[in-house]
Symmetry: C2
């Protein structure tokens, strides 16, 4: 029986993880749940899965949670310290990190420090603090298993292979809803347009990141940390999102992982690796689906992709600043403060003002993150 | 230094194997070569690669070979016994079995009996004598590594995985040059039409088998033996031959092997498995190729596919009879004795006349093979 803690239990990854667990009650047991602010769903989850500990990041709602779970056998904790407690609970075997944004960093680091196997869906953790997290993982002999469908695909393609034999990684991108839009068409894009992802049903932040292709930029940076900074990583636009990513080996063989767009598949893989779980889901019907297409990504129409490549090359605190400025920009777009095309502009302006420094510690990273958020907010205010 | 013997050195597989060896002289050494009747090429190969032993199946040309290699340090042998000697040479580590047709059976069996790792490109070996060969391989602790691009793809997708977690194997088929032909169009197909394979450059027999899709039928039977008789194997028509085959696992994940259509890739994989060789070949350019398409196979327009499924279900000596009758039928077609549509008719008539018996020994299989060839020839004579 594998004991699981979930960071971000009420989000998309959390809910899908709980579904996998519910279908396989003989294999998994929930011991910790950490949520952001969704008291209703966290209450239901605690009552159903009976964890030892439940954390709510939003401390203003902590009293409400306590009141509603009165009489329930569960320790209730709040704030970032609460998430850290869930991440480092002694009985936990595996921590699923499914929080959105930079908030996932500190609890993910805590999980690695506590020697827990980390199933990582929070891409910001490696984007902003790749060096710190990987050093800590190595120190503690901890495995980091990616959950993002693309990184899971690469991880699966690498199973049984010698990483030294990789010629290049081919990261697939759907291209998002604006894949075929001209620069002019992008001028008038609305929040509603950007929230319509063609293939995956995800949260608002990551859906906007897919539209700008910043999501692919962040995945590019995450893949560099996961699979080797010296590894060549090419991005290819594959609108159907059927092939989730590929590895080309030195013999020119390409191993690809394909499948239905269902996050339970990579989640279950991370939970059972190197074994596979019978997921009781329908097979991909290759002959019923349309043709598979591939095209080169466009770094002009999607400047977020270019920015991500640039900060990965430059390193230091720049990826943390990119990520923080992107979070502010996406929120401003969702709040209708700025237009779609201003998202990369705000990020680039913030990056231009940054004095990069080393990203050797969590504090270094958090300082840069904090600086970038303030700077981006000031730029927004100046604009308004 | 891996010591290699090649059965069928002057054929397509043999020539490609020698190319891989020539590019990697520090890793491989040729110790034995066996050819059918191409004296010119075998002479050149002996002079270039200096094997200890060279065999020519066609004994009528043996004297010519001896004369032309006069003074060369090589043992020259002939007939089936000669191929068997090459297959079981004590110093050989790995035997590449690249002969065409049923002629590959006895030397392949000899290689397995002698405890050699067998890189198997001769699909007839398993089609006609799967049970005998696998029993002998198990007895001698011998690995059989498939070289056919489809079976190599499946073998690669299985690397690092638990075979018990396979949901189904998806064997891809190009569909050959007549993929989109109506039944009426097939009536007037010529030998020249059938010899034009859209994706692969292969010998005449296998090219005709691709046109009738008997090649896929034989591969279906071979895959059953290689990957488990109880494993579900679906055939899907994928005209571009970019995905060479796939495995769907119980979690619905599909692992696919893709690549350029170059036999040196699966040959090199079989020669270095579980490692991979730097092949110094160009990468597949996904964005430059056309769309990838998938469709269900048509068992009506391609009756050879139906016959292969039927004989695999019925077992015993029926696959051997199917294969032998197919060899006679294809030769008769190439010799313009019969039309394209008569190929499956001749095979089915031969199968209908067969009294199936057990295929427990090489003798059982060879008896059935011999019977089927005679029967098919008589049917041809009766027709003429």
């Amino acid at each position: 029986m594998k004991k699981i803690s979930i960071l971000g239990s009420t989000g998309s990854i959390g809910v899908n993880t709980l579904d996998v667990i519910e279908r396989n009650p003989d294999q998994f047991e929930i011991v910790g749940l950490a949520a952001g602010s969704n008291v209703d769903l966290l209450c239901q989850q605690v009552q159903k899965y009976r964890p030892k500990i439940a954390a709510l990041f939003d401390t203003t709602k902590l009293e409400e949670l306590r009141r509603r779970l009165n009489g329930q056998q569960v320790e209730i904790v709040g704030g970032q310290d609460g998430s850290v407690q869930v991440a480092s609970l002694p009985e936990t075997d595996l921590v699923i990190s499914g929080m959105v944004g930079c908030a996932g960093l500190v609890p993910s680091f805590a999980a690695v420090s506590a020697g827990k196997t980390l199933a990582l869906a929070n891409k910001e953790t490696l984007v902003v603090a790749g060096e710190v997290i990987l050093r800590e993982a190595e120190k503690n002999g901890v495995s980091i298993i990616p959950v993002d469908s693309e990184h899971s695909a690469i991880f699966q393609a690498l199973n049984g292979e010698d990483p030294k034999r990789i010629r290049r990684i081919i990261l697939t991108a759907s291209g998002g809803p604006f894949r075929a839009f001209s620069v002019e068409q992008m001028e008038s894009v609305t929040v509603e347009d950007a929230l319509k992802h063609p293939n995956w049903d995800m949260g608002a932040k990551i859906t906007i990141d897919s539209a700008t292709m910043m999501n692919k930029g962040l995945e590019f940076i995450e893949a560099k940390w996961l699979f080797g900074l010296d590894t060549q990583i090419d991005i290819i636009v594959h609108a159907q999102s059927i092939i989730h990513s590929m590895i080309e080996f030195v013999d020119t063989s390409i191993m690809a992982q394909m499948g239905i767009p269902d996050m339970r598949v990579p989640i279950a893989y991370a939970m059972t690796y190197p074994d596979r779980l019978d997921c009781d889901l329908p097979s991909l019907d290759l002959s019923a689906m349309g043709d598979l297409t591939f095209e080169q990504p466009d770094f002009i129409r999607f400047p977020c992709l270019r920015l991500a490549h640039e900060v990965m090359d430059a390193g230091k605190t720049l990826p943390a600043v990119l990520n923080a400025a992107n979070e502010i920009a996406v929120q401003a777009f969702l709040d209708r403060q700025i237009g779609y095309k201003e998202i990369p502009e705000l990020i680039e302006s913030t990056l231009d003002r940054h004095q990069p420094h080393s990203a050797d510690t969590i504090e270094d990273v958090l300082t840069a993150d904090d600086w970038a958020r303030n700077e981006a907010r000031q730029l927004l205010t100046a604009k308004a």
